[in-house]
Symmetry: C2
Subunit: 483 residues, 2 copies
């Protein structure tokens, strides 16, 4: 890199980190030249480069300004849920979200569905067709409870990439990650027990805990580094927390990867308070960096981590193939699995095992990572362009989900209602809280093709948000005056 | 029918009902002729016919005797479980049974697996191949929570045969009948609640109840007419029973069909004590009579019956496609379904829906009923031939399961251990009790081909039973003398 490129990169990073905010004036050429010990023309070249990238805008006679809407919005701040055990609500809202799957003409920006249209999935279809043509009756009969050995071997092999040493016998196959989570919860807890969760957290996990009569403590979570270990420790001190559920690699909904030292610290905290960790790795293979980050399980020496995952986000959720590496809870997990559904479907397990064994999985992953990253960049532009100022936006390190925080008292539930007229739907933030927090947040899916229809949807969404925020501001006035 | 045929049929029925027992002398030709007002030669012709069928044996100068081992063994008597809430155990034994699925060289006479090798399943394979060839990405993505409308429509249509008026919207698709049962239990009960079950009862149901912390009351059950309504009423009077789980049509393991008037009486009892009924109909389509018997659900006016079923026994358990018609508990069932596994696999649902829609289901059922009935007759002969006297044997009205009761203190658990050397396995009776009763019973599968290997197995089994019973008799002596 030349000098001016280095300087431009530095300035771009500052803008992205929100050091210079949207519309703000940048330092003069003279000051920058002095600060960085470079020539005036180097600074000018750097500014030209950023101008080309539409990150900054020159204003005649005043210098350069950070382009409006072009600056990266700041990250959501550390969340601050109530740190005491709460009952979980929100089922009706979750149901609304899930029911909209039925309506084909709705653009489902709120869903957690991956893109299943890529040609790298063709071998999977072929394998399924061939399995059906072979007519092996064993595929129609009950599989063993633990799952197909051929699949368990492939899962164990893939786990090496996340730093895990597992054998096929350490794996239990489940009906999706959902079942992996629910049998894990039931293996480590009794009704009435307390589990600590990130906040926000995946609504499926919250509903599962609710269904089993578990109380949850929502722990403050940072959108870049994950669950607050300090707050978690406090919770451990105050309450008999039995287990922690985390999504440390590509969190849903915040998109972060927990830094390694924090992962290790989380594990030792769990050891200290003798709690189980349920690690949900369902998005872990979809990180944009390669090789993928390590799982908590990879440092787990005493078998207290139950690693749950599936092919739902990487390959095809409709096959309902997931798994858990349950550590020391293996026997109980198998029992709970029997209780919930009996054995897992045989043929779909075989198809997935074959797909991985034949070497189609990693090329598919590579492609999906690229597509999602490109989609993310596009969505990011559109959000900056179409949304009003004053919002915070997550910076996912992979996957296909974006979390947007709007100023309170913005109400995403109300927003969704107006959006349904435009056949558009987002996931409202309150789904991701046991106690109905985050109504001012929403989650967007960028596994959808980022085409003209999506851009139009973003424009509608941005306008609706702007409108709603303006209405909030007006709403807030009488409330103030009557108090 | 001619006169002598009518008379022979009458005598055969008496023998089958145990009125004339094995080895017993039959009335003289003269007496029968007087009793029935027919000629002596008619009686002689009737006896000859029965002799041809090997049901009776002539003894020179003494007349006719019921053939040894050819008489139908009596039915097991009404069971007498302890009628108070108990904790469920037996998981280890269930696990042993399930694990033997892995060992291909074991003849699994204890399993609940159907025959999935018949040519009437070919269209299913074809449909699956065609679905894979079409490469419709929707099949790879999440289905709706309630399940594929196309499948729900077919299930509702089939339910007409059991007397039910259901619409597609009354059905929730599940991952096998197992999940249907477990979400139903969770929809109507809380941990600590009491549920009444038949005794013996399907081990999967018992383990599910155990997993959810439900206490069960085992109700005496008759091997011809089903759960004792008198005992059930007593249980209702003494305990706060929240629900009843029954398998009224082709009970597992006893094989009975509850008579209609008892079904109706069961329903009104549930109404009177405001309890839910979880009706497990998984074998209901496999009755040898046609049309199939009505389900409890067909009389259910106030939505208290949750009808659970699947294609596992009729088509293919490996596909894991089941359903529940949850009546008034629909919303809670959908919630519990979300919690357990999320939505059901899309493609397998589609394949089953197509198979039924294209009209392959009923011809397949017809064939399976015939095969199982023929297998039953063969197994029945072998049991009479190879087993010692003094046993009781169920008379299934369909399905592919036979229940054998041996005199106490015979121990089927110990028997199974010796059988494993012969690569043979049966289901021990104690699996079917919450409290470890029925160790003197075993359940045999006759969906297996009743071929030479099976006959050999029956011979080994019969000899082992005879040996064990003799040992029991010896064991019992010192116990008597020291008391
Ligand atoms: C964090 C997380 N865990 C688990 C799941 C459920 O995965 P599956 O579809 O494999 O059951 C999801 C799906 O939305 C998810 O986002
Ligand atoms: C009475 C009964 N109910 C339910 C089941 C479970 O059926 P599925 O395989 O559809 O989960 C069985 C299977 O053995 C059964 O015998």
């Amino acid at each position: 890199m030349t000098r001016y490129q280095t300087l431009a990169a530095l300035l771009a990073r500052r803008i992205e980190q929100g050091l210079y905010r949207s519309g703000e004036r940048l330092p003069s050429v003279r000051i920058l030249s002095a600060e960085h010990g470079v020539s005036i023309s180097t600074v000018q070249q750097a500014y030209h480069l950023l101008e080309e990238k539409q990150m900054i805008t020159p204003q005649p006679r005043s210098g350069y300004f950070v382009s409006l809407h072009k600056a990266t919005p700041p990250l959501p701040a550390m969340t601050r849920p109530a740190q005491r055990p709460v009952e979980i609500t929100q089922w009706d809202a979750v149901l609304d979200l899930l029911n909209s799957r039925q309506e084909e003409d709705i653009l489902q920006m709120g869903s957690g569905m991956p893109d299943v249209t890529q040609p790298t999935l063709k071998p999977l279809w072929k394998i399924m067709a061939r399995l059906a043509q072979k007519q092996d009756p064993r595929l129609l009969n009950y599989d063993t409870l633990q799952g197909l050995p051929a699949l368990r071997e492939q899962v164990a092999r893939l786990a090496i990439d996340s730093g895990c040493q597992l054998s096929a016998d350490d794996i239990v196959i489940t009906t999706g990650c959902h079942e992996a989570l629910s049998v894990s919860v039931r293996a480590v807890c009794q009704p009435g027990d307390i589990i600590a969760v990130e906040s926000p957290a995946f609504h499926g996990t919250l509903q599962t805990l609710r269904g089993f009569g578990i109380r949850v403590i929502e722990i403050p979570t940072d959108s870049a580094t994950g669950i607050s270990l300090e707050a978690l420790e406090l919770a451990f001190e105050q309450w008999p927390v039995k287990a922690i559920i985390v999504v440390p690699n590509i969190n849903n909904p915040l998109g972060f990867i927990m830094p390694e030292h924090r992962k290790k610290a989380l594990l030792s905290l769990a050891q200290r308070y003798d709690a189980a960790i349920i690690e949900d790795d369902v998005y872990g293979e979809l990180t944009w960096e390669y090789p993928r980050p390590r799982s908590l399980k990879s440092w787990d020496l005493d078998g207290r981590v139950l690693l749950c995952s599936s092919i739902s986000k990487t390959l095809a959720p409709g096959l309902r193939v997931g798994w858990v590496a349950p550590g020391r809870y293996r026997d109980r997990v198998i029992h709970m699995k029997y209780i919930a559904t009996g054995s897992t479907a045989t043929q779909t397990q075989m198809a997935v095992a074959e797909f991985i064994r034949q070497g189609h999985y990693l090329p598919h992953l590579r492609r999906m990572r690229q597509i999602y990253q490109r989609n993310y960049e596009t969505l990011n532009c559109w959000v900056r362009h179409y949304f009003p100022c004053g919002i915070c936006v997550s910076r996912p390190a992979g996957g296909f989900l974006m979390w947007i925080e709007l100023p309170e008292p913005f109400d995403a539930v109300r927003l969704n209602r107006t959006l349904s007229e435009s056949r558009l739907q987002v996931a409202v933030g309150s789904l991701f809280s046991a106690s109905g927090k985050y109504r001012n947040c929403l989650r967007l899916n960028f596994a959808l093709p980022m085409d003209h229809r999506a851009e139009q949807a973003l424009a509608v969404l941005g306008a609706a948000v702007e409108h709603a925020m303006a209405a909030c501001a007006v709403d807030a006035l009488p409330a103030l005056s009557t108090e």
